[in-house]
């Protein structure tokens, strides 16, 4: 998701609301233009709630503040195969139902603890799956897990973290990205590192 597109879309939504709300913005549809995947407003909201559970708002911005859910949808739309996109959508609906079954309310209305509990289960499965993949030969093509719910979770978590750590906020306020470093110090003492990076 490009900053300019966000601004453009925002302008469109605001403008649309003032002028021709029923024509310009279909409330049943996702809020951004997607070329391949078909995402409803409800599904978009669910992705936003999952992303917000992964990167919650604290005293610093969370996933929704940074529109990371829109970045996830944009990436799934543009950078994944049809097969992966289908798994993503199928997994999205399954996980949404799973939450309702478990807590008797929509995922978005669950407490942060409930939401985290559900996602952490998937996180453990995801970790096991990745561990098993690591054992395979390096040349083996990385496949998504057969379980669509896990596939959805893996894609959403990966792209949420990607979007977060590559966001303007993170790259200017957390770990600062330098476009023009103007220096190379080949022997830099670890103890002098400004950011809180320690020997691991």
């Amino acid at each position: 998701m490009n900053r300019r597109t966000v601004i453009k879309n925002l302008a469109l939504v605001i403008g649309g609301a003032a002028l021709l709300p029923s024509c310009l913005h279909d409330p049943g549809k996702a809020s951004i233009a997607l070329k391949k995947i078909n995402v409803s407003a409800d599904q978009e909201r669910f992705v936003a709630d999952v992303a917000e559970t992964i990167i919650p708002k604290t005293d610093t911005p969370g996933a929704k503040d940074l529109s990371l859910h829109l970045f996830v949808l944009k990436m799934v739309d543009d950078c994944f195969s049809k097969k992966d996109q289908d798994a993503f959508i199928a997994g999205l609906d399954k996980l949404s139902k799973e939450a309702e079954n478990r807590y008797n309310k929509p995922f978005g209305q669950c407490s942060q603890a409930q939401r985290e509990s559900l996602l952490n289960e998937l996180d453990h499965k995801q970790a096991e799956f990745q561990k098993a993949q690591k054992g395979q030969s390096k040349n083996a093509k990385k496949e998504l897990p057969a379980d669509d719910m896990l596939a959805f979770y893996g894609i959403t978590k990966g792209e949420t973290i990607f979007g977060y750590t590559y966001s303007k906020y993170f790259m200017t306020k957390q770990i600062v990205y330098e476009l023009v470093p103007s220096r190379y110090n080949p022997n830099f003492p670890v103890k002098n590192l400004k950011v809180a990076i320690k020997n691991g």
């Binding site: 543009d78 950078c79 973290i161 320690k198 020997n199």
Partner: protein, 572 residues
């Protein structure tokens, strides 16, 4: 062009024509125009003006729609160019997509191209090493290809000449295998690269790790300031085009210099179909192009023609330049045109970890990329079961690791608090391949491209010598890594097709004997003395060095010779 009048022909007549605007073409244009010749430079792609046509150069990572990733559809539609390490969202627009200019692969060949003013000099990896006589004497000593018609002493002053202008960073390492040049200060090795250098120094007589020599302005000189270039700012985003002119490209350096003389006509969107050989005059009189925008076919004329279309396309142009005198391609009396094509074998890598020197890391970025291990195998005499050898890159760095497990506040905190890994070290092989008669480029008999030129057929492959050498690289590097105390050593055979090295060489090779070569010791055609080839196509053998610096030196030397011959009336 019979309907065009004499005035029009006059307007289309120059002193010199240079086909191609990249690494070597840019140098040809600079040299010709500085010597006062009206020069036409033809480029098949669009214009890319320094600092104007670098759309992504100042973009932050978050400003890229896909944060640098190549969209799925683009990858699917372009399986070949997608293999190139530099084909990412920030520089995709400088690479030729697979369907833009199709070719026939009798055997797989990953042909990586940059069709624009500046060619691949915009996105190159900027490594620059001189050849030595161990390289020039290779074919004669080891009995392959043909003897190079030149030796180091012929090229040494021209290496100096181009190095001073381009700006090459490096140390004077005093190695006879890799002669020193006119260097700007080197980008120093880091602590672990130095450690490895010392380990090699104390365990082997002839193995060295030196600072990689590269075309970056570590400390610009007045000549570089005059070019409008300033100090390299260590961005290491070079493939986007550099607003500082921190590295050498034709766009930032040779072409603006040539344009300033007022003698250069730069014509983009011009696909050269053939060099015109006039059977009556018994010389080349010009070139025939197709304007890719208007589809108009136009002829341009000149006394001398330099073919610098990049190795593969130079072969294509010459093979397609047929006349009564040369029915099998221009200058091809010997029948070797398009044969003995070679490349560098880049299909092996090795990585490991190091737990020493944990109190140090690096800060900022190293434009040179780290260290360089010059060839040590079979250097002074034959000593293994394979011919020739390999150079290797070597670099060490520490990574920022983050714990990405779980979700929520803890994850968020972890992402902002990376830990520093131990040292990760890596090396890649840059191996010489032996030019063979059976490695060929030929014209397809039936299929033509959108500009009326036959498609090129690739019949190029590795051989047993390459396999043996790769095995040796793995063994020797593993031994050296072990001696250095590196652990978790992992070898990686990419099994990539030829071509991905982007070091295509040969097909119109230099040699003393017109019966077995196309070009003489001045890069001049044996059989057509007003046509010169000074790009990769001229290479008799490949050795292990990154070839661009040698093309630059050969080009400046050949232009100097050509202009001398024109003055003497030998080329008219």
């Amino acid at each position: 062009m019979a309907n065009l009048n004499v005035d029009s022909a006059k307007q289309r007549t120059f002193d010199a024509i240079v086909i191609g605007s990249g690494m070597s073409g840019g140098w040809a244009a600079k040299e010709f125009t500085e010597k006062g010749l009206n020069t036409l430079m033809l480029e098949r792609g669009r214009d890319v003006k320094h600092n104007i046509d670098y759309p992504t150069t100042n973009m932050y990572p978050w400003e890229f729609k896909h944060r640098g990733e190549v969209p799925y559809d683009v990858q699917q539609a372009n399986p070949i160019i997608s293999k190139c390490y530099a084909f990412k969202e920030d520089a995709m627009h400088f690479f030729v997509k697979d369907n833009e200019h199709p070719y026939v692969q009798d055997k797989p060949f990953d042909w990586i191209r940059g069709y624009q003013v500046g060619g691949k000099s915009l996105m190159w990896a900027r490594q620059t090493q001189r050849w030595s006589d161990y390289d020039f004497e290779g074919p004669a000593r080891d009995d392959f290809a043909v003897d190079w018609p030149i030796r180091y002493k012929d090229l040494a002053p021209w290496y100096s000449y181009v190095e001073k202008f381009a700006g090459i960073s490096g140390n004077k390492d005093g190695l006879d295998s890799l002669p020193d040049g006119e260097f700007l200060p080197a980008f120093p090795l880091n602590s672990v690269e130095n450690h490895f250098s010392k380990v090699l120094g104390s365990n082997y007589q002839d193995r060295h790790v030196i600072s990689a020599r590269c075309a970056h302005l570590s400390v610009p000189q007045p000549i570089h300031i005059q070019q409008g270039r300033v100090m390299c700012q260590k961005r290491v985003l070079c493939q986007r085009g550099c607003p500082f002119g921190g590295y050498f490209s034709a766009n930032s350096t040779t072409i603006p210099w040539a344009l300033k003389t007022g003698k250069l006509t730069l014509r983009p969107h011009s696909v050269v179909q053939e060099v015109i050989f006039d059977d009556k005059k018994s010389k080349a009189t010009g070139v025939r192009i197709m304007d890719t925008e208007t589809k108009q076919v136009i002829e341009y004329y000149a006394k001398v023609i330099f073919v610098n279309a990049a190795a593969v396309n130079t072969n294509l142009v010459l093979l397609n330049s047929k006349s009564q005198r040369f029915p099998n391609g221009l200058g091809n009396d010997s029948g070797v045109l398009g044969k003995y094509f070679a490349f560098h074998n880049y299909s092996a890598r090795i990585s490991a970890e190091y737990d020493g020197i944990m109190d140090l890391t690096t800060d900022g970025r190293n434009p040179a990329g780290g260290g360089y291990i010059p060839r040590f195998r079979n250097l002074k005499k034959q000593e293994t079961g394979f011919l020739r050898g390999y150079a290797a890159g070597f670099s060490a760095s520490r990574w920022q690791n983050t714990d990405q497990s779980g979700v929520g506040k803890g994850l968020k905190e972890n992402l902002a608090n990376p830990t520093l890994s131990n040292w990760k070290v890596g090396s890649h092989m840059m191996a010489e391949t032996i030019p063979k008669e059976t490695n060929t480029l030929t014209l397809d008999k039936s299929q033509k491209d959108a500009w009326g030129v036959p498609l090129l057929k690739f019949n190029i492959d590795y051989d047993d010598n390459d396999t043996k050498m790769k095995q040796d690289y793995f063994e020797q590097m593993t031994e050296m890594f072990t001696k250095a105390g590196f652990k978790n050593i992992q070898t990686y055979d990419s099994k990539q097709a030829p071509g991905l090295d982007i070091h295509e060489m040969g097909g119109a090779r230099m040699g003393n004997d017109p019966k077995t070569s196309i070009l003489n010791k001045w890069n001049q055609m044996h059989a057509c003395n007003n046509v010169f080839v000074t790009d990769g196509a001229c290479m008799t053998s490949t050795s292990t060095q990154n070839p661009s610096l040698t093309y630059m030196a050969l080009t400046a030397r050949a232009v100097d010779y050509a202009v001398g011959e024109m003055k003497k009336g030998n080329i008219a």
